[in-house]
């Protein structure tokens, strides 16, 4: 026998005495069953996630593409709808919001529950494509709002213009002159009392705060004129004609029209009653269209001369009943398009909440004609007013995929058992400690 073999055999005699634990067979078989069950569960989970995120999923059928217009109907977006920021889908035909129930809205008090989202937006907005049924979520500011530009490309978000084609934001024209003096020092630049909106065709933008106004070309952003006026606590609405030569402001208790140099052209008390409302209120023929309303009566369109403030005839438009408000957003000849906010009982409370619809008001008609009705629960609605009379076919909605929603919600759910186990361990330790003491 060789030396090496002898040495191996001698060395092997130093081996330890191994005593396998009792129940090794049963424990090993049980562990194998558990592993197989865990693997099956994991495979199911992977399969479920793959199905949820739509892989492999054929691309949804899209409609239109060549023609721009409003869709025939709107649906609610899914919870994992992509955002404008991550997956911009081009100009929008419609923007609507269900308030804090709009998908991807943050909880007002528990921001940490949605840690993966940027900022803190308690009311997001859903935008729907101008050419096809692509749904995206816009977030920004505390509440995003639905101030959509007439061509549908921009959305006013948090004091900036969000470009729906690129997902980037553009700064709005800056106001010049001394900041408002009478308000709280912390008043934000475009905060309380301030208004930003577009001219009827979207070629100009007006920015107003409590004592300053600026009108600029859009999308150039070149300032055309600035003016200041005495401090106002409240600016309800701002309307400019398409040529941007003046601005009509709805203040606390009056309607004021300012010239380019900031001087008052005329004013009327709001108690008369008369109200300027809507981006298209100032018609190209110089008439300033507003709303009149008897006490508890329906709204009716009325008109003033934009130059003098004197009442002028506008014709007999159908009354709008049971409405909380109305905004004239476009004209096609003498036919007016307006967003009407109907009063409906709240879902959670008995307080009335507005349910908006796009209606067409034809002179001589008995009642408004509903053009577009958003999903139930919608609180705010806007349309690309340049395309208000154009319709396109509605197809299968495409929501995109928001990877961050999957990641964030998945990790949140994954943390639940960890937190639970940690809690149980802590309770067990506490009980043991107390019994030992």
């Amino acid at each position: 026998m060789s030396v090496l073999r002898d040495a191996f055999r001698e060395l092997a005699e130093d081996a330890p005495e191994v005593r396998p634990p009792a129940g090794l067979y049963a424990a090993a078989r049980r562990r194998r069953r558990e592993r197989r069950a865990a693997a099956a569960l994991l495979a199911l989970a992977v399969l479920a996630v793959a199905v949820l995120i739509g892989w492999p999923r054929p691309g949804p059928e899209r409609f239109g593409g060549d023609s721009a217009g409003l869709p025939d109907h709107l649906v609610l977006p899914s919870w994992d709808t992509a955002t404008v920021h991550d997956s911009p889908a081009g100009p929008a035909a419609v923007a609507y919001s269900l308030g804090e129930r709009n998908v991807q809205s943050d909880d007002e008090d528990f921001r940490i529950f949605s840690w993966w989202r940027h900022g803190h937006t308690v009311s997001s907005t859903t935008v729907v494509g101008l050419h096809e049924d692509v749904y995206r979520i816009a977030r920004g500011g505390y509440t995003t709002g639905v101030d959509l530009s007439p061509d549908g490309r921009f959305l006013m978000v948090g004091g900036e213009a969000l470009d729906l084609s690129t997902g980037r934001t553009r700064a709005l024209p800056k106001l010049t002159g001394p900041r408002p003096q009478a308000g709280p020092s912390s008043t934000p630049y475009y905060g309380y009392g301030g208004v930003t909106t577009w001219s009827p065709e979207g070629t100009r933008v007006v920015v107003v705060d409590q004592s300053r106004v600026a009108v600029a070309g859009w999308p150039s952003g070149r300032i055309e004129w600035n003016a200041t006026f005495p401090y106002q606590n409240y600016i309800g609405d701002a309307v400019i004609p398409e040529d941007g030569s003046a601005v009509a402001l709805t203040l606390d208790d009056e309607i004021v029209v300012l010239n380019r140099d900031g001087t008052r052209r005329w004013s009327r008390s709001k108690h008369e009653p008369w109200l300027v409302s809507g981006r298209a209120a100032w018609r190209p023929d110089g008439r300033l269209v507003g709303l009149t309303r008897e006490v508890n009566g329906p709204y009716r369109l009325a008109a003033l001369d934009g130059a003098t403030g004197a009442p002028v005839d506008i014709g007999a438009y159908p009354p709008v009943s049971a409405a909380m408000g109305m905004e004239v957003v476009a004209w096609r000849g003498d036919v007016a398009y307006a967003i009407v906010r109907h009063a409906v009982p709240g879902i959670y409370t008995q307080d009335e909440i507005p349910f908006p619809e796009l209606v067409r008001l034809v002179p001589g008609a008995a009642a408004p004609e509903v053009v577009l009705k958003p999903p139930a629960g919608t609180e705010q609605l806007a349309v690309a007013t340049v395309f208000v009379d154009a319709r396109r076919a509605t197809g299968a909605p495409e929501f995109g995929v928001n990877f961050y929603e999957y990641l964030g919600r998945g990790l949140n759910w994954a943390c639940c058992p960890v937190v639970l186990i940690g809690f149980l361990v802590m309770v067990r330790k506490t009980v043991r400690w107390s019994t030992q003491v």
Binding site: R5, A12, E17, Y25
Partner: protein, 174 residues
């Protein structure tokens, strides 16, 4: 009842196998690892793996030995051993021994520590278990050429660090 009876029979068969063969597995594991604690862990790992697949194993002895060898050379086990062993390039100092010296096993133990896990496994298979080159290649899951080159390198290394084993090395090399 039939299933329970079958399961009980399987368990009895496994326990009989463990009683009969654990000592042999422990010796092989000790030669492979050079450490009593690691050897014990390795045997338990292999027996646990066998228990998990017991109902489907045609040749449990062959399966357990294969697990012993493959796990012994797996990178994470080797890494664990390295944490507790400090290897140097220079051979350890030791007193001179002859072929008839009863401490030859100590020489071999020191020399084996100078080898890689794979070289060690090849030597154990070839010179402790008297496996052929092709059997060694099959158990380790490598090619015949790899076994030959590993054996050659291992014996050369042994000759360098333990000249007392040179005669046998020469024979094997041939």
């Amino acid at each position: 009842m039939v299933d329970a009876g079958m399961s009980g029979g399987m368990r009895d068969g496994f326990e009989e196998f463990v009683r009969a063969r654990t000592g042999a597995f422990a010796r092989t594991a000790y030669l492979l690892t050079g450490d009593r604690q690691h050897a014990e862990e390795l045997v338990q790992t292999a027996l646990t793996a066998a228990a998990e697949r017991w109902t489907r194993l045609d040749d449990p002895e062959r399966y357990v030995r294969r697990v012993l060898y493959t796990r012994a050379v797996s990178w994470w086990r080797v890494r664990r051993r390295w944490r507790s062993e400090v290897l140097t390039d220079a051979p350890p100092e030791r007193r001179a021994v002859s072929r008839d010296d009863p401490d030859l096993r100590i020489v071999l133990a020191d020399a084996l520590k100078r080898l890689t896990a794979k070289q060690r496994a090849v030597l154990v298979l070839r010179f402790y278990e008297d496996r052929s080159e092709s059997e060694t290649a099959e158990i380790l899951g490598v090619g015949l050429g790899t076994v030959k080159s590993q054996t050659r390198d291992a014996l050369r290394r042994l000759r360098a660090v333990a000249p007392e084993l040179a005669d046998e090395n020469e024979e094997a090399m041939r």
